[in-house]
């Protein structure tokens, strides 16, 4: 049996006894728990505690168990994410460590075999020799450093030097690629830039500076998640920012992943190239109504809603909420911290443990 069930039995047993050290369960819980446990001893918990169950743990039963008349509305919720496009920025410790290791490498590695790459007498060789005189080492990203000279011991990076910064290293590489040779064949002639190398695009984009939350070009080092606003919320509440959610259509005998694809298209339009990762949900949540809705006609009672989160990735395109079937008014692409600030506590609790660090 599940751990949750065992704990509850213990609590229920304790609550039955009249000692003063009973754990303070609220009256509703005590009564429902008591009722359920006296009704069926062996069945697992019907309504799971409202915590996300990560995919590794076996969750309690999701379908109604005890009485055939108990039902839940099944909903699929989409966690559509754009994965990070850039590597993460380095910490100061990492930068200094990598520079230190590169300088150690200079001293320990086999010397560069120049004549294997630059043949004697070629202009490339002359170019190489000139550059070597300037920076004293074949490597370009460790500054002016001669590992084998008498002053090779003096390799401490001075205060204010930006040698270890990745941007400076990339700039050094590009400057090296630009300087191509001297004017004419004169070794003392002026250095001519044969080819201006294009600088790489900056890591901070226009959307970052402006703060356009609808853009997918923002926060390229982080994962961005699609959230929508408007339409009908969970359990009929007022709709704040949340993930696109919709009922599984019984008429189509839908499974979760087909429902996920349908919801993505109906929410954001066909202009998105998306991929639903697998057929399994990554989180499930159970929400109970305060009072179950009894349907006497069909003989069942609707206790609440079960929401299954399906993971999807967006590869290209952009969401377009015009003509969306759920009445959503606005969408945003938010990172993990922004989600925490935007979501209600209950919604954030539902997903906080399954969002990756980056």
């Amino acid at each position: 049996m599940t751990r949750g069930h065992d704990a509850l039995r213990l609590l229920a047993r304790r609550s039955k006894s009249s000692t003063s050290t009973t754990p303070p369960l609220c009256l509703t819980c005590l009564s429902t728990l008591h009722a359920r446990l006296t009704h069926t001893q062996a069945s697992p918990l019907e309504t799971a505690p409202i915590e996300p169950s990560p995919s590794g743990r076996a969750p309690p039963a999701l379908t109604s168990t005890t009485s055939p008349s108990t039902r839940y509305l099944l909903k699929a919720s989409i966690l559509l994410s754009r994965p990070p496009l850039l590597t993460r920025p380095l910490t100061p410790f990492e930068k200094s460590h990598f520079l230190y290791q590169k300088r150690l490498n200079e001293r320990l590695v086999l010397p560069f075999t120049r004549y294997f790459y630059y043949q004697r007498g070629t202009p490339e060789e002359a170019e190489w020799k000139r550059k070597m005189k300037e920076r004293k080492t074949p490597a370009r990203d460790i500054g002016v450093y001669n590992a084998y000279g008498e002053e090779g011991w003096n390799d401490e990076v001075l205060v204010g030097e930006r040698i270890g910064e990745p941007e400076e290293q990339v700039e050094a590489l590009l400057r090296d690629a630009e300087k191509e040779g001297r004017e004419g064949a004169d070794p003392e002639g002026a250095v001519v830039k044969r080819e201006v190398v294009e600088r790489p695009m900056p890591r901070v984009t226009e959307a970052d500076r402006v703060g356009d939350l609808r853009s997918l070009n923002r926060k390229l080092e982080r994962t961005l998640y699609l959230v929508v606003k408007g339409g009908e919320g969970l359990m009929g509440e007022e709709a704040g920012w949340r993930f696109p959610t919709a009922l599984l259509e019984k008429s189509r005998q839908e499974s979760l992943h087909t429902a996920a694809e349908r919801i993505i298209v109906q929410t954001g339009g066909v202009n998105m190239n998306t991929w639903v990762v697998g057929n399994m949900p990554i989180v499930h949540n159970v929400y109970n109504y305060k009072h179950p809705v009894v349907n006497k006609q069909h003989g069942f009672e609707l206790r609440g809603e079960k929401v299954f989160f399906m993971k999807a990735r967006i590869l290209a395109g952009q969401a377009n909420l015009t003509n969306n079937k759920f009445g959503y008014e606005d969408f945003q692409w938010l990172s993990k911290e922004e989600l925490q600030n935007t979501f209600s506590a209950r919604d954030w609790n539902a997903v906080k443990t399954i969002l990756p660090e980056r």
């Binding site: 590794g56 076996a58 150690l104 043949q119 993971k311 993990k336 925490q340 660090e357």
Partner: protein, 323 residues
């Protein structure tokens, strides 16, 4: 009625709809024991100190120098056993002769793996078991003889059903054992090297250029093979080399050794298209650049998982996937 609880309010959590928000916010929070100050935040040296700092000048000003042995430490050249008084430093120390300088950057494949690929692979490889439906303990994988014949006594166990070989057990994939790439073997088989040693040297240079490590030579009875083992960095192969192959379909779907290792080969023309070889293509003797075999060893235990991992990293597969 609810009685006053002697324990803290925080530990009380009602299990049903009136749950209180927990204090854990999902992000790694530092505990109170961790001191917030960092040595990197301590105010640095004063301006005057910075101006005056000149180690070279300081060393030149010294009139008397200590003997070099006071500045240098030379680790022992021979290892003479654990009881010898002069012990070599551990290989992780920069003073050791065996020291290999550590990481020079955060490999982008590793970052992509941890941020994007591993969560997706976990989602894809997870098999759901509702509670109470976990398969019970299975029978022995190698059955024993039933004793119907007197000759069954002391016989070794029978072969597994359906195959002469016992395949690896596939443990359920959890967050702790997502398949990852462990090492990559780059291998080049040279049948002409027995005749002409130059092939061996050229192959060694090519392998060194591609993998940045020295090749080891293994001799078979009639021919010679060059091996090399390397960890990580298949990015360049996938991103730059594979797309340049004309009409490349991918790696065969039949590749794989049922233990999570997938291998494929590159012909000499493709090896010549590697950026590290192309830059000084003329330096190699003509037609001596060898073809290579690449074997990616992963922690997966079967072909399907290994193929899924490699295709998530960008290696295309074609044809029928045979496990």
């Amino acid at each position: 009625m609810l009685q006053a609880a002697p324990w803290r309010r925080k530990s009380y959590q009602c299990l049903y709809s009136t749950r209180k928000t927990s204090t854990f916010n999902g992000m790694t929070e530092l505990s109170e024991d961790v001191v917030p100050e960092s040595s990197l935040q301590v105010p640095g040296p004063s301006e005057e100190h910075i101006q005056r700092f000149n180690p070279i000048a300081r060393s030149k000003r010294r009139r008397s120098q200590l003997p070099p042995s006071r500045y240098q430490f030379r680790p022992p050249r021979y290892y003479r056993g654990p009881l010898h008084p002069h012990q070599p430093p551990p290989p992780s120390s920069p003073a050791s002769r065996l020291f290999v300088p550590g990481p020079f950057s955060l490999p982008r494949l590793e970052q992509t793996y941890h941020s994007t690929l591993a969560p997706d692979l976990l989602t894809l490889m997870y098999t759901h078991h509702p509670p109470g439906t976990l398969p019970g303990p299975s029978g022995p994988r190698l059955r024993s003889w039933d004793g119907s014949s007197p000759y069954h006594k002391n016989r070794p166990l029978r072969a597994p059903r359906g195959s002469p070989v016992l395949p690896l057990l596939r443990r359920p994939i959890t967050f702790k054992n997502i398949p990852r790439l462990e090492k990559i073997h780059v291998h080049s088989f040279l049948k002409d090297a027995g005749v002409d040693m130059q092939y061996l040297h050229v192959a060694g240079m090519v392998l060194q250029a591609i993998t940045n490590a020295r090749a080891k030579v293994f001799k078979a009875k009639h021919s010679i093979a060059n091996f090399h083992l390397r960890k990580g960095n298949p990015c360049a192969v996938v991103e730059v080399v594979m797309p340049r192959i004309k009409e490349y379909k991918g790696v065969s779907g039949r590749s794989g050794d049922s233990s999570g290792d997938i291998g494929w080969g590159f012909s000499p023309e493709i090896v010549g298209a590697f950026p590290e070889v192309e830059i000084n293509y003329d330096a190699y003797p003509p037609r001596m650049i060898p073809g290579i075999d690449i074997v990616c060893c992963t922690t997966a235990t079967n072909d399907k998982d290994a193929r899924l991992l490699l295709s998530s990293m960008g290696v295309p597969f074609y044809g029928k996937h045979i496990n």
